[in-house]
């Protein structure tokens, strides 16, 4: 009987919540210029990454020393780098690295943070105390420093940069989920489900989780931008993606800085790509928050 009641509750609550959220988001994207801009930027980034093979005019690794450091022209829209590789093609392929790192780092960080936050908020007590103190300790170390330390131990590579970023994301996420769980637990229907004898995992999964998805998604979208930025920073410092793989941060550091006076396009375009991608996700996070958090709406 318990499960039947629970299912009925799911049927009543979950689909409407999901539907109204999608609607609210869609309305925000259509009505607010910044919402539309963010959706467009992210859409473009995703399409570029998926269709990189089709879109890139040249092989991103093919060097043509005879046209090294060529300024932007019709043949090479963003110019060429110090060994004659097409900058546009490298930026197009670089979107794959950025998106992939963002996706996996945020995915791992969000899921791990969510599990810890759910456990802390739901069971509280000693488990909560211990886990939250560990989270405090991780958070005491600034994100980039922690990522740097992790990468230094694991050896610089894209995968390790991604793992390091995931670790950086966990504490903040766990805290937000924990707070949302603590407040969701106060709801009558959670009490009712407990009184009916529902299994704890079931209560967590079907009654509490839907309440915490909004903050999780908002924070994930903001972290997505940050993850791209941290990967670019690590690569820029030589501790992320390694050459010759085209990563935006690496393009800026390896050739962008060395030839910046002779060939400023080498620094301008990869930086622009990073900024637009990060901007897209930051604005999207704002849009999500405006659409889903009624408390924040009045100030906008």
């Amino acid at each position: 009987m318990a499960t039947a009641t629970a299912r009925a509750a799911d049927f009543e609550v979950a689909p409407t919540v999901a539907l109204s959220r999608t609607r609210a988001l869609w309305a925000a994207i259509r009505r607010k210029p910044l919402g539309a801009a963010s959706a467009t930027l992210i859409g473009l980034l995703v399409l570029t990454a998926i269709f990189a093979d089709v879109l890139a005019p040249y092989d991103p690794l093919a060097a043509q020393p005879e046209i090294r450091l060529a300024p932007p022209s019709r043949a090479h829209l963003f110019g060429t780098d110090d060994i004659g590789r097409d900058v546009l093609s490298r930026i197009i392929y670089g979107s794959r690295i950025s998106l992939w790192v963002g996706l996996l780092a945020v995915g791992i960080g969000t899921i791990a943070g969510m599990i810890i936050g759910l456990a802390c908020g739901y069971w509280e007590g000693r488990l909560d105390m211990i886990l939250q103190r560990i989270m405090d300790a991780v958070q005491a170390i600034p994100g980039l420093m922690l990522a740097l330390a992790i990468v230094s131990v694991l050896k610089p590579s894209t995968t390790n940069a991604m793992l390091a970023i995931a670790v950086v994301i966990i504490p903040g996420n766990s805290r937000i989920v924990r707070a949302a769980v603590l407040s969701a637990k106060q709801n009558r229907y959670v009490e009712a489900a407990e009184a009916l004898g529902c299994r704890q995992l079931h209560i967590l999964g079907s009654h509490i989780l839907p309440n915490v998805t909004a903050p999780i998604l908002i924070i994930a979208s903001i972290w997505f931008g940050n993850a791209i930025l941290i990967e670019a920073t690590l690569s820029f410092l030589g501790l992320g993606t390694q050459p010759p793989t085209p990563s935006w941060g690496l393009m800026l550091s390896s050739t962008g800085r060395a030839f910046m006076e002779q060939a400023p396009w080498l620094a301008i375009f990869p930086g622009l790509a990073i900024s637009l991608a990060v901007l897209g996700f930051n604005l999207f996070g704002d849009t999500l928050r405006d659409a889903w958090d009624p408390k924040l709406r009045r100030n906008r």
């Binding site: 005491a140 131990v153 920073t233």
Partner: protein, 316 residues
């Protein structure tokens, strides 16, 4: 207040101990140990030399002993020597800390000087072009990578003004003008990034305070707009800004890593990056731990300031 201060201090110590365990653990999860990795990268080194080095560095002792020794070294402010330069880490830090401190302080001042006025104007003129412009500046501050901004600033200063900031570091006491020339651009880059979050926070708290009853009363009394905004509203609106500035200290120290690398400032950030590149793990673990300790202390101070600024806050 005193009770609160003591309780917060009592909470900060276990957090720092846990952080030190994480940092120490991190440096030891490497397959083999730091030295094997170092030697593997530097070429052929005999087993005997390796064993001797390991003994000298105390890497042959059990982990808990190594941890306790390191902890004692940190507490007694003598964190051992760098394995790369053989220089005592304390000496290297003594040179690096003032650089980062000056950079961070200047960046903080510049950041606040940009953020607070724009945030206030954005709020007073909500939904006007001035507000939109302010918000675009804030969002771009969050999105532009500081290493890109730094690179562009150097490039375009050179191309347009034929001016290259003197790279490297001269102490302020040696030559104040040269020192400020070296610090102005990096501090501006770092400060711009810092100002974004502060600007957003200032805007939203000022908006909130402007809707309070006492502000409405002030308007109703017929006070001039300037007095209402600056004397009545701003005072209260800036309290939460203190917290966000506190939260930014991490960003500031992390940003220093990048900015110091670009502008060739020999601060803690550059020291850490170099140590990582050379796998100088004693330096890495000391620096990361030191930054964590500085942050925890500063955050504690920020929280106490907050409690002091806002008498309505009663902590149990």
């Amino acid at each position: 207040m005193y009770k609160y201060a003591i309780r917060r201090l009592a909470l900060a110590i276990p957090v720092l101990l846990l952080s030190s365990l994480i940092v120490f653990g991190l440096m030891r999860v490497m397959p083999g140990d730091a030295l094997t990795a170092l030697m593997a990268e530097s070429g052929n080194v005999g087993e005997r030399e390796l064993a001797k080095l390991r003994k000298d560095l105390g890497l042959d002792r059990p982990y808990y002993e190594q941890y306790l020794i390191w902890l004692w070294q940190m507490v007694s402010l003598n964190p051992g020597d760098s394995i790369f330069t053989n220089e005592p880490i304390a000496v290297a830090l003594k040179k690096a800390i003032p650089v980062t401190f000056e950079l961070a302080t200047l960046a903080m001042i510049l950041g606040l000087a940009i953020a607070v006025p724009i945030g206030v104007i954005s709020a007073i003129r909500q939904d006007t072009p001035a507000d939109y412009a302010g918000r675009v500046v804030a969002v771009s501050g969050l999105s532009l990578p500081d290493f890109w901004l730094g690179t562009l600033v150097i490039t375009f200063a050179a191309i347009w003004f034929r001016w290259i900031p003197p790279l490297g570091y001269t102490s302020f006491w040696e030559s104040p003008t040269r020192n400020l020339q070296q610090f102005l651009l990096p501090a501006a880059v770092l400060g711009f990034r810092l100002s974004a979050a502060t600007m957003r926070m200032t805007r939203s708290t000022v908006l909130e305070v402007l809707r309070e009853d006492y502000v409405r009363t002030a308007w109703a009394k017929g006070l001039a707009g300037r007095i209402v905004v600056y004397k009545h509203a701003l005072k209260n609106a800036l309290i939460p800004v203190v917290t966000i500035v506190g939260g930014q200290l991490g960003t500031l120290l992390a940003g220093a890593v990048v900015v110091e690398t670009i502008f060739a400032l020999p601060g803690m950030g550059r020291l850490t990056v170099e140590a990582i590149l050379f796998r100088d793990y004693p330096v890495v673990q000391t620096n990361v731990m030191l930054v964590a300790a500085i942050l925890v202390t500063l955050n504690l101070l920020v929280d106490l300031t907050y409690a002091w600024l806002d008498p309505r806050i009663h902590y149990q």
